[in-house]
Amino acid sequence: MVTLTKAPPTAPATPPKRARRPLIRDWQLYSLAVLPLLFFAVFRYAPMVGNVIAFRRFRPGGSPFGDDWVGLRYVRMFLADPTFWQVFTNTLIIGTLTLIICFPLPIVLALLLNEVRIKHLKRFVQSVSYLPHFLSVVIVAGMVGQLLSVDGTVNTLAGTEIPFLQRPEWFRTIYVSSEVWQTVGWGTILYLAALTTLDEELYDAARIDGAGRLRQTWHVTLPGIRPTMMTLLILNIGAFMAVGFEKILLLYNPLTYPTADVIPTYLYRLGVVSGNFSYGAAIGLFEAVIGLILVFTANSVSRRTVGTSLW
């Protein structure tokens, strides 16, 4: 590799370039990393360290890392908190529903789009289906509110007057449907990219062996996009615990808490609104650790079984 620093004027007399230490040789490159590293240190790693307030008592105006050690006091507190178990259950239910419904649908849509032979039509459907991805979650929540309000389209078409957003039994359906609306089109992009790389000869071979279209899809197409599927599945599992925090915060209200309140929204109210920072941090840490374990587990299972992994 070529040295990137300028050779000094007395070039012939200097020792060979190899002898220069990499740190000195590449100092200009390292200097470019200083500000980004500062960003990661302050806004990503300092908050991780800041989680120690989960084990220390935080006093308003006191140290951001808390004042005295209290050990597992806050952990024991949330384990004994019935509301915590309620929101934990809600998180699992909403996370599972989202995973089961929002993960496979983009694959299905990509397969259907892939069968469209008219190029312009295909592109039109794609462009339209990507659109919701570019909207602010505030707009999405607003649209959901308008469509489901008493004077909204859903009630008009059904001839009813149900205040959907005030009904706990409707919340999960509403959340998951709006999630599908927002993500299904955008989710097809990577699959469509993977589909274009599939080998035509495999299809010809399958056809000669007498495979119909369905069998071709099953034996050629799906195995072909499996690495993409696994990568996205692992990423989805990693996001499992985080569930759509911002959207739930915008859509829920005290009436729907029984089904809508999830860990992130609960700790937002507990920590930021009520100021129980240490207690909130303890729950947040618990949530983040579960998320980390899930993603590591999914990754290693995937690596061992199908050979695809994120790292």
Partner: protein, 288 residues
Amino acid sequence: MTSTGRRVFNVINAIILTGVVVVTLYPFVNIVARSLSSEQEIIAGRVTLLPRGFDLTTYRLVMSDSLFWTNYRNTVIYTVVATTISIVLTTCYAYVLSKQHLRGRGVLVGIAVFTMFFSGGLIPNYVLVSGLGLRNTIWAVVLPNAINVFNLLVMKAFFESLPVELEEQAAVDGLGTYGILLRIVLPLSKAIVATMLLFYAVAYWNSWFTAFLYLDRAELFPVTVYLRNLIAGATDATSTGSVDTDVAQVAANIKAVTMVLTVVPILTVYPFVQRYFVSGVMLGAVKG
């Protein structure tokens, strides 16, 4: 495969995809229709596809609200400043990460990638930003999410795909690292820089939560928080039961108008920039 079966499939497929298009577009159509309708027609639940009782009063009302314009202007300022910071930091770090020979490169990659899977969490972040005294300043909005690791990896993959010989030649010709980055690499990277600009700008335009969390004064809000408060306010009013009908009616209409005005810039540029997003995402997919 018999051609009859194929034809049946094509018809069913066309029906499904038409359904997808209709369902995706309908909420937009409905919002526009509501924004142009009179309050009475909305309350009566008669507005679906087309505006009824065409009425522009609400547009005039929203547009004459000085807070709306202040917040709209804030959104523009936050988006421009934040996107600039993000682009500079992301480009610098991605360029460093793309240098295969660099000592400690793996560690630098790891530092970034780990944050994709583990984060400090809401409370420590909140305590930190408050502790740094960033509350009620623009910095609380533009700094905490300055580098998006996914974008970083996309950009790194792009830099790695550039021919090494060009940079080696430039180094032989006496250019330093900064010179190579500014005069050789960036001019060749217009496509990726443009993609990143779009990614970041849309994300900042749409964001609301950081602002909602760290800003208390209404004149500092971006328009998304303005809209959020409008919607939440209306919800609170209906849930208490005793609402002045006039207020409720106007609110229903105002929400639609504000939504339309907030989303218009995105919808206007969308057709032109959409393909850049798509190619950007695919570029990232190549490297994973």
